[in-house]
Amino acid sequence: MAPEIPVIETKRLRLRAPELRDFAPYAAFRASDRSQYIGGPNTRIQAWTMFTSLIGQWVLRGHGRWVIADRKTDDALGTVGLFHPDGWPEPELAWSVFEDAEGRGIAYEAAQTARRYVYDVLKWTRLVSMIGGENARSEALARRLGCAPAGTFEFPSFGEMTVWLHPFPAADDVRLVWDSGRQVYDTAVEKGAAR
């Protein structure tokens, strides 16, 4: 198992381990209607269990979800990464963005980066995302990521979800570079720009 959670940076974002100070924005997200397609809205006690389990999956499986943080302020904007409860047919790339981060392409940038980690570092060649309910925003992001519906999956407490298959290799132009020992991904937007 990896002894630590990797940190990945893009032009605007930092994907990093969840930290205690992220709980307040996470709980606010979980208390809002924005979490309606992923089991919410939730009480603070439920949100704590969900928040702590973000890091617990890293402990148990060696992979999991990061907090999407603003690269400048380090404030939490959402979560992205691999979600793999026992009984899931395969790990999925999952994403959530908090209200303040909506409409800025942050989920797209974070999901692209996490996908690149899955393909380049974990060396996986297949990746799916599960989307439940009438979650039009999440479906739009899946399409923007080049995903296509590839079946359905039903799980107790989540109901029926559509399995969206990611393209492999991905057409997006994100590349891995190293910066002071950190894995850093440049997005297509900044490719060629001076660092």
Binding site: M1, A2, P3, E4, I5, V7, R16, A17, P18, E19, L20, F23, A27, G39, T43, R44, I45, Q46, A47, W48, T49, M50, F51, T52, S53, L54, I55, G56, Q57, W58, V59, L60, R61, P85, D86, G87, F155, P156, S157, F158
Partner: protein
């Protein structure tokens, strides 16, 4: 900052090994969580909540630097239960908790042995100055274990919000002798 995932202690007692949760514990945990034995800790529940709950226990170690231990017999890796420090968001104070997953453990004194070792760890290694256990009034086995450990009811202590469930009893633990 990097979050380290593998730093957690292992404790040995006369008959038991106590260690942080592992992926291999999940089948036994899921079976426990689906059974009536989990009625006092939020169950019975299906695989979704069960998975989240084990991840919660594993993740607490990383967030707080302490957490609960899964206990097994020293010569057998079958997980029997979980016990130790428990301190979720909004908890009034630090708790010592326990769950006994396997019915065959009842009557063996193993839960008592494990919980005492975890309590020694909390007071001795983590330097806790006090600890409570929140117990559903209907959970007679758990109340009996708390009493056997020398814990006594603390009527004045704050109680956690319980999401609509009955307010728990608060048992306060004595500081173990010699610590």
């Amino acid at each position: 900052m990097k979050a380290y995932l593998t730093k957690s202690p292992v404790i040995e007692t006369e008959r038991l090994t106590l260690r942080a949760p592992r992926i291999g514990d999940y089948p036994a945990w899921e079976a426990f969580y689906a059974s009536d034995r989990a009625a006092f800790i939020g169950g019975p529940g299906g695989p979704g909540p069960a998975w989240r709950a084990l991840c919660h226990a594993a993740g607490m170690w990383v967030f707080l630097g302490f957490g609960s231990f899964v206990f097994c017999r020293r010569d057998d890796e079958t997980p029997l239960g979980m016990t130790g420090p428990w301190y979720p968001a909004d908890w009034p104070e630090r708790e010592l908790g326990w769950t006994v997953w396997a019915a065959e453990v009842e009557g063996t004194g193993l839960a008592f042995e494990a919980a005492c070792a975890a309590r020694d760890y909390a007071f001795g290694t983590l330097n806790w100055s006090t600890a409570v256990s929140y117990i559903d009034p209907a959970n007679a086995r758990s109340v009996a274990l708390a009493k056997r450990m020398g814990a006594t009811l603390d009527y004045d202590a704050a109680r956690p919000l319980s999401d609509g469930k009955p307010a728990p009893l608060v048992y306060r633990h004595p500081r173990p002798e010699g610590l």
